[in-house]
């Protein structure tokens, strides 16, 4: 029990540290959000101007923007420590690796939830999507998607941060893994926006939840091996 409490406090401490770095702005968190919004804008140019087509594509475009922003986010959360040589220090601490993973994943998930939440009004405006009563299931979908992406993304970011060609290796490894997450999140978003005519919203959210749980377990289990390099 003591170990659990210590692990939790370590995780929270790491998450808080990362969160503060994000908020201080030195971490370019704001730039990432702006980049994701820019992606949404660019999609408008790529797929428009037919507003009906854009409205239909909106859920997919939203989640693509979240994914692109997410890639930058998880990479960033490891990059600063890698640059300062702090990762080696972290690896030396006699603390449960899973706690370190949990802290970083928590920070990543929180950052992505903020990202997703801020993109919702952008999508609503750019693609003329009335959100209305769907805001709650939409936020749930964003939360679950963020957790899942951060779960795998944190592990892969830790893996690639010291690699050659890491800018391409992270997306190359991560994107195929999150394909089912993307699929489910878009389906859930579409269902929520449309009033869930087929009653499938619950199933898709459950799939997201299953993805989250599985990836958190696997990520926590393997992160230690990545630190010990």
């Amino acid at each position: 029990m003591n170990d659990l409490r210590r692990g939790l406090s370590v995780a929270l401490a790491i998450a808080r540290k990362d969160g503060i770095s994000e908020l201080r702005g030195r971490q370019a968190a704001g730039s990432t959000i702006f980049f994701a919004a820019l992606v949404l804008l660019l999609f408008g140019f790529a797929l428009g101007p037919d507003s009906r087509r854009l409205a239909e594509a909106a859920p997919g475009l939203l989640w693509l923007a979240i994914v692109f922003g997410g890639l930058l986010t998880v990479a960033r959360l490891h990059q600063l420590e890698a640059d300062d040589g702090a990762l080696e220090q972290l690896a030396l601490y006699p603390v449960d690796r899973r706690a370190i993973y949990a802290g970083k994943a928590l920070a990543g998930a929180a950052a992505m939830m903020v990202l997703g939440g801020l993109l919702l009004p952008v999508v609503a405006i750019l693609y003329a999507i009335p959100i209305g009563a769907a805001w709650l299931p939409l936020l749930v979908a964003v939360a679950l998607g963020a957790i899942g992406f951060a779960a795998v993304g944190t592990a892969y970011a830790g893996l690639t941060v010291r690699m050659r060609a890491r800018e391409v290796m992270l997306p190359l490894l991560l994107l195929p893994i999150v394909a089912p997450l993307l699929l489910a999140a878009v389906k859930a978003t579409t269902a929520a926006l449309g009033g869930d005519p087929l009653g499938e919203l619950g199933s898709w959210l459950q799939l997201l939840l299953a993805f989250d749980v599985i990836m958190l377990i696997v990520g926590a289990g393997t992160y230690g091996f990545l630190l010990e390099e």
């Binding site: 690699m163 290796m169 190359l172 195929p176 893994i177």
Partner: protein
């Protein structure tokens, strides 16, 4: 020696199964001759997934034991696996064009899952190529192999749900072959091909494993040579530096 015999047996088996599939087995009532492609397509897919499983399990084996022989198995599985995955996709496309009219169908969970499998394998192999240190490479590869293996069933189910209310392809669902009602001759042809491919797979895995072990020994030897050469160069220049007179301070 035994492996060589295995190789020859595998070769004979493949030739036999291919002749069977191409000429001896009758064509399907609905799909015609395109049905024959199913034998190589399904067999390839089977082995692609099996290879993936081997890679994932071998990765776990490495993480637990730190024995690089596991990593050699994992590498063999990935390389052989990426080949069979490519074959499975190719076969699927060659079958799809005459039967569906298109080379690609998003709603077919097998095709899309296998395409993702290819992406995952290629990423795995690239990751290995970009890491030089053997133990680091093995650890990273093991993590990626494991996460990818866990992901595959999730992908499969999500694509099946994705298809949802859409009608599946009306003729020619590839899984018809595995149905209990499939004609016996077809099932036998598939099993024959599967058996032959499994022999081939075993042979290739053994050879790739042997190759990995040998090449790593050569790598280690080269690395040791480089290190000792550098050391010799460093110590050779040291006495020279000591003998040179100090520059008088001005």
């Amino acid at each position: 020696m035994k492996t060589r015999i295995l190789g020859l047996v595998a070769l004979a088996a493949v030739i036999g199964a291919a002749i069977n599939g191409l000429f001896l087995v009758p064509p399907d009532l609905n799909q015609g001759d395109a049905q024959r492609i199913m034998y190589v397509h399904v067999a390839s897919a089977w082995l692609a997934y099996a290879s993936f499983g081997v890679t994932a399990l071998a990765g776990i084996g490495y993480l637990v034991s730190r024995d690089l022989r596991f990593d050699a198995v994992a590498l063999a599985g990935a390389e052989v696996g990426v080949m069979f995955t490519a074959f499975a996709i190719w076969g699927g496309m060659m079958w799809g064009r005459p039967v569906w009219g298109v080379y690609w169908q998003w709603e077919d969970p097998r095709l899309t899952t296998t395409a993702l499998l290819l992406a995952l394998y290629v990423g795995y192999l690239l990751l290995r190529r970009l890491t030089d240190d053997p133990s680091r490479r093995a650890a990273r590869a093991a993590v990626v192999g494991l996460i990818a293996a866990v992901d595959i069933p999730i992908v499969h189910f999500s694509v099946i749900w994705w298809r949802g209310l859409h009608q599946g392809p009306t003729i020619g669902d590839p899984s018809k072959l595995l149905h209990p009602s499939a004609p016996l001759l077809f099932v036998m042809a598939l099993l024959a091909m599967l058996g032959a491919f499994t022999l081939v797979w075993t042979y290739l895995m053994i050879r790739r494993y042997q190759l990995a072990r040998m090449e790593w020994r050569l790598e280690d030897a080269a690395r040791r040579d480089r290190v000792s050469a550098a050391r010799r160069a460093a110590s050779a220049s040291a006495p020279l530096r000591a003998a040179q007179p100090e520059e008088p301070a001005r």
